[in-house]
């Protein structure tokens, strides 16, 4: 359906993306996960035909976008990161205009607009000017505008930026409906929870390079740990977490404030030894919990940096 092959793009001396490759099949949702400035938007812009790659190619059903008016573009729907709506026009007028850009008019346009408005639950506000909409409603309308020509591939560039949790859930619901309809979704985000919830495969991008490309389960397998034990210590004076690396099953140990995070290969075999070691060495503790590593951990493991606020 969609193949991105070795795409590279530079702006002067700044390399935005280099050698980016991945593919997305029909009905598949691919998450492009990475911090701000990682190259996600550049990748999406190249797929949508807004930018030309310096090298590499993008194939949509084995065809390249060769010109501005190439019919291949009909297979793509773009939801830009910035709101792409006319505030002074009503929701319906906006959609009528965007439908006309794809030469859809008359009854066909009306039907497409009604379906899109129904999907994003804005039918009752169709006649209102967009300027009166909340941020979440605008985001939903922004999504609806990309659906009018019934594209097979939907490029969603951080479609939930700046919306409240309720609106975010509503957008997720919309996307899950589209996924069930067999649409291919390319979803860029720097929120790991969104990628975990929506995506079949996750492409992790950092500094313009793909550092991982796998399913969520596959990515977890890249981790040297299966569990993290969090232990709240009474006192941390003189405590050296690296001493714990000598224990069997322990792969990492990190002290954050008064909480000790210990990575273990096997929870049932590792936990008793860790707790015994703490008691034997006079480190009393109040609270013990375990958690599964998430994409944040994956990103941290792969890049050595946190997913959010990475520079």
């Amino acid at each position: 359906m969609l193949e991105v092959k070795g795409v590279t793009k530079s702006y002067g001396k700044l390399i935005a993306v280099t050698g980016v490759s991945f593919r997305a099949d029909r009905g598949e949702t691919i998450g492009l996960l990475g911090p701000n400035g990682a190259g996600k938007t550049t990748t999406v812009s190249i797929i949508a035909g807004l930018l030309s790659p310096d090298s590499g190619e993008v194939l949509i059903e084995s065809k390249q976008v060769k010109s501005d008016t190439d019919p291949v573009k009909l297979k793509i729907g773009l939801v830009p990161q910035d709101m792409a709506l006319y505030d002074q026009l009503s929701a319906r007028d906006n959609l009528t205009f965007f439908a006309a850009l794809y030469s859809i008019s008359g009854a066909k346009a009306k039907q497409a607009i009604n379906e899109a408005l129904d999907l994003v639950a804005l039918s009752d506000r169709a006649g209102d000017k967009v300027i009166t909409f909340s941020g979440g409603m605008k985001r939903r309308l922004n999504l609806a505008a990309a659906l009018l020509h019934d594209p097979q591939i939907l490029l969603l560039d951080e479609p939930t930026v700046g919306v409240d949790p309720q609106s975010r859930n509503a957008i997720f619901d919309n996307l899950e409906v589209l996924k069930k309809r067999g649409k291919t979704l390319i979803y860029t985000t720097h929120y790991m929870e969104e990628a975990e919830r929506l995506c079949d495969r996750i492409v992790i991008i950092d500094h313009g390079r793909v550092v991982a490309n796998d399913t969520l389960q596959g990515l977890h397998k890249l981790l040297p740990v299966t569990n993290i034990i969090a232990i709240e210590l009474d006192r941390t004076d003189g405590f050296k977490p690296e001493q714990m690396l000598a224990l069997p099953e322990v792969t990492s140990a990190e002290l954050k404030q008064n909480t000790l995070h210990v990575g273990v290969r096997d929870l049932s075999r590792g936990a008793p030894g860790i707790l015994s070691w703490l008691s034997e060495n006079g480190h009393s503790y109040q609270h013990v919990s375990s958690e599964q590593p998430n994409l944040e951990t994956v990103f941290l493991t792969l890049t050595g940096r946190s997913l959010r606020d990475s520079k």
Binding site: L50, L51, G77, L78, A100, S105
Partner: protein, 441 residues
């Protein structure tokens, strides 16, 4: 065609939805054009022009100086008031008077003497002091012209028929006869002239005596202007009078439509930075569709503004298209297209909206100024008048003037239309060549 029409329709809707933009584009030029039209003659030339304030300082107190003040006070263009020298200086400095004329002591006597001898008797010509406000050079020229005529008339009147004139003639005759510095031939000629004047005065005295005996009024004397003027404003027809609003509507219309074109360019630059541009570029639309639709919508808006402005001027100020209607429509259409292409060029050459706004406003104001939108181009120096032929606004305003109050035929609209279309082509080519389609610059 559906996308193209949708793009045009969307631009028009956005323009008319923005009431502030519509008001700025229509109401403001109407207000300014009404003001300038009133200043430059108004409707049918009925506007009463302000008189030039002139102060008179009479240090002579002679019959001639009094006659001069009376002559000037009678001129319809001047508002003459007596003053002292100090007060006059103060008034001119403060801008309350355009000029002050100082008639020095013995002016009457010296002027009469100089009239006949031209200063050849050794006495210098008397000086009339003119204090003036340097910011009113044009009015100063007018005041000096009126003063010159008034001095000639009052001096000669006194010399040929007044009491002091007779004394002056007698005195001058004696001086000429005794002055060896004057060549003999000149002395004879002056003696004949003054003798003739003396004889004329004596004859007029006799006539005045008999006229007084028969109850007739006193005869006037002296030189007078040897001509009168018959003024005729050359407009589209014999009975059609100049309407100052026609030019001001054209000028202000051109100015504000260019500003609208500028806004189109800036809006396009802003659009390029927004998600909307990504959405438009993601659609299967050609560049010709994207830029062409923008051109058409901007041209339609410009044409609409011109239509409303001239419609208003027709109803309120009686401005009529006295020339070719087709020519008028042609000039409007060509200028509207040029404005749209100008807007696209602004978008193509500009890098950021903020930076572009500054230099393009300056360029627009210069074009408008050189085009004669503020003041007619005939006020410009000759070299500047020639230079303005390469400014499109000059052709637009000349074309609109020609088709409205000048009442010219279609043939006179051909050159403005052709030049405006050439500028359209030039701007469009630059715009297409330099337009940055990619948001990455």
């Amino acid at each position: 065609m559906i996308p193209f029409m949708a793009l045009v329709r969307k631009d028009l809707r956005l323009f008319f939805n923005d009431r502030r933009a519509v008001i700025v584009a229509i109401v403001v030029p109407i207000v300014l054009a009404s003001f300038f039209g009133y200043l430059f003659g108004g409707q049918k030339g009925s506007t009463e022009m302000a008189k030039v304030p002139v102060l008179m300082i009479d240090q002579d107190g002679s019959d001639i100086s009094r006659g001069l003040i009376t002559q000037l006070a009678g001129d319809k263009n001047l508002d003459v008031k007596p003053s002292s020298l100090d007060d006059a200086r103060d008034a001119v400095r403060k801008g309350k008077a355009t000029a002050a004329i100082v008639i020095p002591k013995d002016f009457g006597k010296d002027a009469g003497n100089a009239l006949f001898t031209g200063g050849k008797t050794g006495a210098s010509k008397p000086e009339l002091g003119v204090l003036y406000d340097p910011s009113h050079n044009v009015e100063l020229g007018m005041v000096k012209g009126i003063l010159s005529g008034a001095v000639m008339q009052s001096v000669t009147q006194e010399m040929f028929s007044g009491r002091s004139g007779r004394e002056m003639v007698n005195q001058s005759l004696a001086e000429v006869q005794n002055n060896s510095q004057i060549p003999a031939e000149d002395r004879k000629a002056l003696r004949d002239l003054l003798g003739g004047v003396k004889e004329l005065n004596e004859r007029q005295d006799q006539q005045r005596g008999s006229a007084a005996a028969s109850g007739q009024t006193e005869l006037s004397g002296g030189l007078s202007m040897p001509y009168v003027t018959r003024e005729e404003a050359i407009t589209s027809g014999v009975d059609v009078q100049y309407n100052g609003y026609a030019h001001s509507i054209a000028g202000m219309g051109v100015q504000f439509i260019l500003f609208m074109g500028l806004d189109v360019g800036i809006a396009l630059l802003l659009l390029r930075q927004s998600g909307l541009w990504q959405r438009l570029r993601a659609a299967p639309l050609s560049r010709a569709t994207l830029l062409g639709s923008r051109t058409v919508s901007a041209a339609l808006i410009a044409g609409f503004i011109l239509l409303v402005l001239f419609g208003f001027a027709r109803v309120v100020f009686g401005v009529r298209i006295l020339g070719s209607f087709a020519g008028f429509v042609g000039v409007c259409a060509a200028f509207s297209l040029m404005t749209a292409a100008f807007g696209l060029m602004v978008a193509a050459l500009g890098k950021t909206p903020e930076a572009t706004r500054g230099y393009s406003i300056m360029a627009t104001l210069i074009m408008v100024m050189l085009g004669g939108a503020w003041v007619p181009t005939f006020i410009f120096p000759k070299w500047l008048q020639k230079l303005t032929l390469v400014v499109p606004t000059r052709w637009a305003i000349d074309g609109l003037d020609g088709m409205t109050w000048r009442g010219l035929g279609f043939s006179s609209a051909v050159a403005p239309i052709a030049v405006l279309l050439l500028f359209t082509l030039l701007f469009a080519v630059v715009a297409v060549m330099r337009f940055r389609w990619r948001t990455d610059g």
